[in-house]
């Protein structure tokens, strides 16, 4: 059996104090896949992502990346945070070069890598600017660039466009898809927007709270670029919305 890029088997998370954030999650992600996790708050989607990143320990089960159990954060799993997490004391170039430099690459190589990803994200004009001078969209481009510059195989994105205005969000979605297609990157993308999930993903994983768990998976077979107003798109949206809201209906009944 060939190991997938990421295998999550029977993973549960119980926080001290007994709060059950996630129960029995199973998920397999192959190289080059784009998977969105969606669900209401408290469904454990961020917890799952943070356990894949290695920021939190699993209470039960295994998270395995390329055959190796995850025990902590590692550069092969780059994270993009909703609040950016850029280093304010470094310029855009410095932030992008941070990972390669920290991993001991030669100075000339670090500079070359930084330039390449500055160009890829269209950040040339902002290369020597500090993060506090950038707009939210620009900051998130830097955050994506630094993960790519660090040779991440798997990009973990925690509602990365949640704090951006609608126009910027749509542009960044297009840019992310273009980069994803041009590289061998796999993406696990947490969102609470169904439209965003269906627009981006190869596969949408629907999660539900109380306790957090995976309730369904849907492969999205629509051709890209996807038209969010097409009947096919809306049919999927309706189906997934029904799954997402199944809990409320049960509670109401």
């Amino acid at each position: 059996m060939v190991e997938p890029l990421l295998r999550v088997s029977n993973v549960s998370k119980i926080y001290p104090g007994g709060i059950e954030a996630l129960r029995g999650a199973n998920l397999i992600i192959e190289g080059g896949e784009f998977v969105c996790l969606i669900g209401a708050s408290g469904c454990g989607k961020s917890t799952l992502l943070r356990m894949i990143a290695g920021f939190e320990q699993v209470t039960e089960g295994d998270v395995v990346v390329r055959g190796k159990a995850v025990t902590g954060p590692s550069p092969d799993r780059g994270m993009v945070f909703q609040d950016y997490g850029l280093f304010p004391w470094l310029t855009v170039r410095g932030n992008i070069a941070f990972g390669p430099a920290e991993r001991g690459k030669k100075k000339a190589d670090v500079a070359r890598i930084a330039e390449r990803f500055i160009a890829m994200m269209g950040l040339e004009r902002f290369a020597d600017v500090y993060p506090h001078q950038l707009s939210g969209g620009m900051k998130q481009r830097v955050a994506i660039a630094r993960v790519l510059a660090n040779d991440a195989r798997l990009a973990l994105m925690d509602e990365p466009f949640g704090a951006l205005d609608a126009m910027t969000r749509e542009r960044l979605q297009d840019e992310l898809l273009a980069i994803w297609r041009a590289t061998e990157l796999s993406v696990v993308f947490v969102t609470h927007s169904l439209e965003e999930a269906i627009f981006l993903a190869d596969r949408v994983v629907v999660m539900s709270p109380g306790p957090g768990r995976i309730v369904a998976e849907e492969r999205i077979v629509l051709e890209r670029p996807r038209d969010v107003s097409s009947p096919e798109f809306n049919a999927i949206r309706r189906r997934l919305a029904a799954l997402l809201h199944a809990d409320h209906v049960k509670e109401a009944a």
Binding site: G54, P75, W89, R103, H132, N150
Partner: protein
Amino acid sequence: MATDSLSHEAVRLRREADQRAGVIGLARGTLSLGASRLDLFRVAGEVFANRRLRACLVPLLLLVLWWLGTRGNPDGLIPPPAAVGVALWDLAFGGINDDAFSQMLLTDLIASASRVYGAFLLAAAIALPLGMLIGRLRIVRELLEPSLQLLRPVPVTAWLPLSMIIFGLGPRSAFFLVALGAFYPILVNTVFAVRSVEPRLFEAAQMLGVSPARLFPKVVLPASLPGMFTGLRVGLGFAWVVIVVGEMTGVQTGLGAMIMDARQLSRTEIVIAGMAVIGLAGFLSDLAIQMLGRRLLAWSPLHG
């Protein structure tokens, strides 16, 4: 941008001033008087619109009040501004009183400034590393913080007698007291800065490959520089504040020693002149450290 809005402000103020002046002029029915008032208001408007000139308004007002309060009372306990001005001139250049204070200003200023900066550097050399240790290592925090917090409320003045016993009369005591004054602001701000590094930055560094041992130099240190710098700035200010107390320890030179000597001789104009020089020196010293901060911490929205 800034100059634009300033000049807009000036125009607006001038227009308002013109209107007021016009109204007064008409009300009195004397157009010539109105015109001269118009000029006065115009000047006032311009002064008010200029940031630097605006900063001088309150000191000038205080000076006028001081002058009014001491006018026509040459034998009062508080000397008029002019007497202080004369004293200042004599302290700086001599040639008026030719007494023990004449021409001593530069010597005293250099003595005090070297104590302030020397003690400040000593305080920083201890408080910065200690603050980082207390902030990052729980064992050090639990060991030292209660004692340090217990000693913190004790004012520098209260340390004076003990300091003179331990360090003797003279410059070593002065040095200790000034360093003590600068120590706590630097320590407290460093502990706070080091402890309040955004947790997100640790996660970001770790997922980019920073090992736990390297988190300190790669994240904690740069992230807490603005806070430490604030501590240094406040500490340097305090060093100037406590220099007079520090120089009550029987040192021969220094602005504090000068003030104490003048006080004993009831030369209040020299006391006030000394106060003015300390105020000015502390103010310039703060400007300098702020400029340094803006250069070194251009990335920080607080300093840049």
